[in-house]
């Protein structure tokens, strides 16, 4: 349980930072600063320039060495950090949780264009996770509908839908995604590219949940209360809505938690190939394109920071997925089912809750 709590805390923290990206970032993620490329992460100290302990943190700022590329002096100056500051750049004025008087702090250093890695991480995470969440939700929903229809209706509809699912599963989804993305027009705004990426991932990702949820639907139909409901003349829709759906909900949640990290990784891979999110928008995939080059990994490891954000994220989501299929969730689903039943419309005659 402790681990689950850790996971929930991590996810809550990540979501807070990413939802309020404008506040937690320290600068415009696309602002280029030609004088400070590849600046290593700047640390903070609680000692004033005089050497005394101070409650106000100071930023350790090094100046670029003149005439050399991405080389910074050993000497540094301590710049007082200010909290709740308003900054203005090409993307407008924002209230930031902290900043410095001239310029902005670079807690995670800068990239090759002098752009702040921390701000890019925060804004990029928002894009990446938004795509992942939206695509996973859409794919799960689509899968659920197909699974429910196929499982409930049976017959020709079931056969047709499941053959389609097999076709979808047999195609390597990543190549399908690459091919479909390449077909999209060139002239789409970056935001449309995000929407398109999301829609595409949902389009190729629904098949597996559909198959699993169809199986779950078939299993759910075997329950005595379903037989009873059919015997009392309940319609297919009624059974699906009031008996099967609550029963397969845990599996749907598990499928969602399995798809979410897959789609986050999908966005990263697509952007890495230049097909997902494009500049000037930022995502973790866009940031990780830097990992294509050995020199970056060797010399500027702080550019790999999205990986350090991805590890706790994947860990937490997988832990949740694990729990979703465990007993506790099943008990929850039984509880949900029973509470649903108690609200069943009386129009059906007998109160099914009695069964």
């Amino acid at each position: 349980m402790t681990m689950l709590r850790v996971a929930v805390v991590i996810l809550a923290f990540l979501s807070t930072v990413l939802v309020f990206a404008d506040f937690f970032a320290t600068s415009d993620p696309a602002a280029i600063n030609a004088s400070t490329p590849y600046l290593p992460p700047e640390s903070i100290r609680f000692t004033s320039p005089m050497g005394h302990f101070h409650l106000r943190p100071y930023l350790v700022r090094r100046q670029p060495a003149p005439g050399q590329f991405a080389v910074y002096s050993k000497d540094f100056v301590l710049v007082p950090l200010r909290f709740l500051v308003t900054t203005g750049d090409m993307d407008g004025a924002h209230l930031r949780f902290c900043g410095i008087d001239n310029g902005s702090p670079h807690f995670l250093g800068t990239d090759g264009f002098g752009r702040d890695v921390w701000s890019r991480l925060v804004y990029g995470g928002r894009t990446t996770l938004a795509i992942g969440l939206a695509a996973a939700s859409a794919a799960t929903l689509l899968g659920m509908i197909v699974g429910l229809v196929a499982g409930s209706a049976g017959g020709v509809a079931d056969t047709l839908l499941m053959r389609l699912v097999e076709v979808m599963i047999s195609i390597p989804w990543f190549y399908l995604l690459l091919a479909m993305r390449a077909l999209l027009p060139l002239r789409v705004s970056p935001w449309w590219a995000v929407v398109a990426t999301t829609a595409l991932m949902a389009c190729v990702g629904w098949a597996r949940p559909a198959r699993i949820l169809r199986g779950a639907t078939l299993a759910a139909r075997q329950h005595a209360y379903v037989t009873m409901a059919r015997a009392t003349g309940a319609s297919l829709w009624h059974i699906a809505r009031w008996h099967t759906l609550p029963d397969i909900a845990p599996q749907a949640i598990t499928q969602f938690t399995v798809l979410l990290p897959q789609f986050v990784a999908g966005e990263i891979a697509l952007s890495y190939f230049g097909l997902g999110v494009t500049e000037p928008l930022v995502s973790w995939g866009v940031m990780l394109t830097a990992a294509r080059h050995l020199s970056t990994i060797v010399e500027y490891p702080w550019l790999m920071s999205p990986i350090w954000a991805l590890i706790p994220f994947f860990f937490s989501v997988h832990l949740l997925a694990d729990r979703a299929s465990s007993r506790r969730w099943l008990t929850l689903s039984v509880f949900v089912r029973h509470s649903y039943k108690s609200f069943l419309p009386k129009a059906q005659g007998e109160n099914p809750a009695r069964f």
Binding site: F69, F113, G274, T289, R292, S295
Partner: protein, 583 residues
């Protein structure tokens, strides 16, 4: 094709020609070294082994069919040319020909061949080999890539043998820099290749499966072994025709080993681990990280200065856009306005590209003529620096205005376009990102679209469905003619408006005339004046924006003397005969 052999002449004419030839030879300054070429100032140490690498396995060892870099690097070492461009001074120097004479107003070149030279299999080299080689290169059925160079205004160069060591080349028109044409044209061994040519199997000759004994050339090294997928080993050519200042036969090295590395990173790791002695064609970031990677072995980094490669921002001015790619038509109406192009040029920060993308290993450009072209660049044209006020004034004069911070054209459309870049090239993607940000300062929304190289090229050269693109180009030579296919409106690198049957604009027509005129005169001063004018016309019209030219970067293991990056192929291996290991 027209090549005449000596025995085509009637006997009397032949004798007369021989007599004339002898007279010409006698009149020529006597070569100081009748058989070997002595390289002055070279004092190396014989012996040793060099490990280098190729980024791909060569497809062929046949210089007639070698088109990609790997094959050409190897064939350039296995073979030699009649005249050679000195990579340091950029002037033409004797190689297999000891001297040459130009007559008939630049239409006739008389080349005297080096005597006593032998191919790497020991057979003698004579004018017959030269004649045979040019017959192969000019054969339309063989369609060698060198053929285009040897066809001037649609007419091939005529080659005539005047004696065992005397060859005459007749050009249809005077051609400036004709002597430079001989550089890189490998002389083939007639005794090995003629039977194959006659049987029509020349295309399959000298592939990688050919036994080393069947491959011979006049270069400093000859083929020793080939291990498929692994490496290619060359050994010293004992019959090579150059000596150092002390009279030691060149090359110094006993063996050269080329291993195949899949990419630059793999190459850099091998180099850092001491498995390679030399690495060329490095990108700026690999170059910067080499010193940190190579902790085990001391290395020497080589920055050869600006090369012939340059990056441009290409506008889609193609005339077929409204019919072929209507979605690109609106943006094209802006690009067709010269003040708009000038304004974009004033908004872009070339020094930021130099600093951030090339880590200061590049120079900003005013025209596509890079500093490697030395005296050919018009000194009056300086790279523009950012001037947003002037850019805005230009835009305003062209009818543009601002809605808030967004630039709108005279019909009220907000100005936004896509910047195409090759996703496989980190530098170009980086440039595109920087440009998009630069244009934002003018209120233009530019979106970077990285595309895989093949679809990138397809859009630029065929479908013309793009707005602007960051393109990397390279001139073939330091001479103005190296950029001819870019300048001429009929040229295949005239990318901004392709496939013109006749020049579409008066200024393109002027460039055509100027380029054709400079091509046909030999007086270097007049050529220079004409070429300066070409560059001025370009700068006034800006059909594309010249951005920067990156440096030629490489590195060698400390203790290896000789390698120097050069703008012409094969970048660092040109003087491989003079490489030696310091003792």
């Amino acid at each position: 094709m027209k090549i005449q052999r000596g025995f085509d002449f009637p006997a009397g004419a032949r004798t007369a020609l021989y007599a004339a030839a002898c007279f010409v030879v006698a009149a020529l300054p006597r070569p100081a070294f009748p058989q070997t070429l002595r390289v002055s100032g070279l004092h190396g140490v014989p012996g040793g082994h060099l490990s280098a690498s190729l980024r791909a396995e060569p497809r062929t060892l046949n210089p007639v069919f070698a088109t990609e870099i790997a094959s050409r690097s190897v064939t350039s070492i296995l073979n030699a040319d009649l005249l050679h461009i000195n990579r340091t001074t950029d002037s033409v120097e004797p190689a297999l020909a000891t001297s040459w004479q130009v007559s008939h107003g630049g239409c006739t070149y008389l080349l005297t061949l080096r005597k006593g030279v032998r191919f790497s299999d020991g057979s003698p080299f004579t004018a017959a080999d030269v004649l045979f080689s040019f017959r192969v290169y000019l054969d339309p059925k063989i369609a060698a890539p060198q053929r285009d160079l040897l066809i001037i205004d649609g007419q091939p160069i005529r080659v005539t043998q005047l004696g065992p060591y005397l060859v005459r080349f007749d050009l249809p028109h005077p051609y400036a820099a004709a002597a430079r044409l001989f550089d890189g044209i490998a002389i083939l061994p007639r005794h090995l290749l003629q039977p194959l040519m006659e049987s029509g199997s020349l295309a399959n000759a000298w592939n990688l499966a050919t036994s080393p004994a069947q491959v011979a050339g006049l270069g400093p090294f000859r083929l020793k072994t080939y291990r498929p997928g692994e490496s290619l080993t060359l050994e010293r050519n004992p019959y090579y025709w150059k000596q150092d200042a002390q009279g030691h036969a060149l090359p110094y090295l006993d063996e050269v080993d080329f291993s195949f590395a899949p990419n630059q990173d793999a190459e850099a790791i091998r180099f850092a681990a001491g498995q390679l002695d030399l690495i060329a064609r490095l990108t700026a970031d690999s170059y910067a990280s080499l010193a940190k990677l190579s902790t085990a072995v001391p290395i020497r980094e080589l920055d050869g200065g600006s090369g012939l490669g340059y990056d441009i921002l290409l506008f889609n001015l193609n005339a077929d856009v409204p019919t072929k790619a209507p979605q690109a038509a609106r943006a094209q109406t802006w690009f067709l306005q010269e003040p708009f192009r000038q304004a974009l040029s004033l908004a872009l920060d070339r020094s930021a590209i130099v600093h951030l993308v090339y880590q200061d290993h590049a120079v900003p450009l005013a025209t596509p003529v890079t500093p490697a072209s030395r005296t050919w660049a018009n000194p009056a044209l300086k790279p523009v620096t950012v001037d947003l006020a002037r850019a805005r004034a230009l835009l305003r004069s062209a009818g543009f205005s601002w809605h808030g911070s967004t630039l709108v054209d005279s019909s009220g459309n907000s100005v936004r376009f896509t910047v195409l870049a090759n996703s496989g090239n980190r530098a170009q993607s980086g440039i595109a990102t920087l440009l998009a940000r630069n244009f934002m300062a003018l209120g233009i929304e530019a979106q970077v679209v990285p595309l895989e190289f093949r679809s990138f090229l397809q859009r630029i050269t065929q479908s013309h469905d793009f707005d602007v693109a960051v393109v990397a180009l390279s001139a073939g030579d330091t001479d103005p003619n190296g950029n001819i296919s870019l300048w001429l409106s009929s040229g295949n690198l005239h990318l901004w408006n392709q496939n013109q049957s006749r020049a579409a604009t008066p200024w393109e027509a002027e460039i055509d005339t100027l380029m054709r005129r400079q091509m046909a005169i030999t007086d270097i001063r007049r050529r220079r004046a004409l070429y300066f004018r070409v560059q001025s016309v370009y700068a006034a019209e800006l059909p594309f924006l010249s951005l920067v030219s990156s440096d030629m970067l490489g590195a060698v293991r400390a203790g290896l003397a000789g390698p120097a990056p050069s703008p012409l192929d094969p970048e660092m291996l040109d003087n491989i005969a003079s490489f030696y290991l310091e003792r």
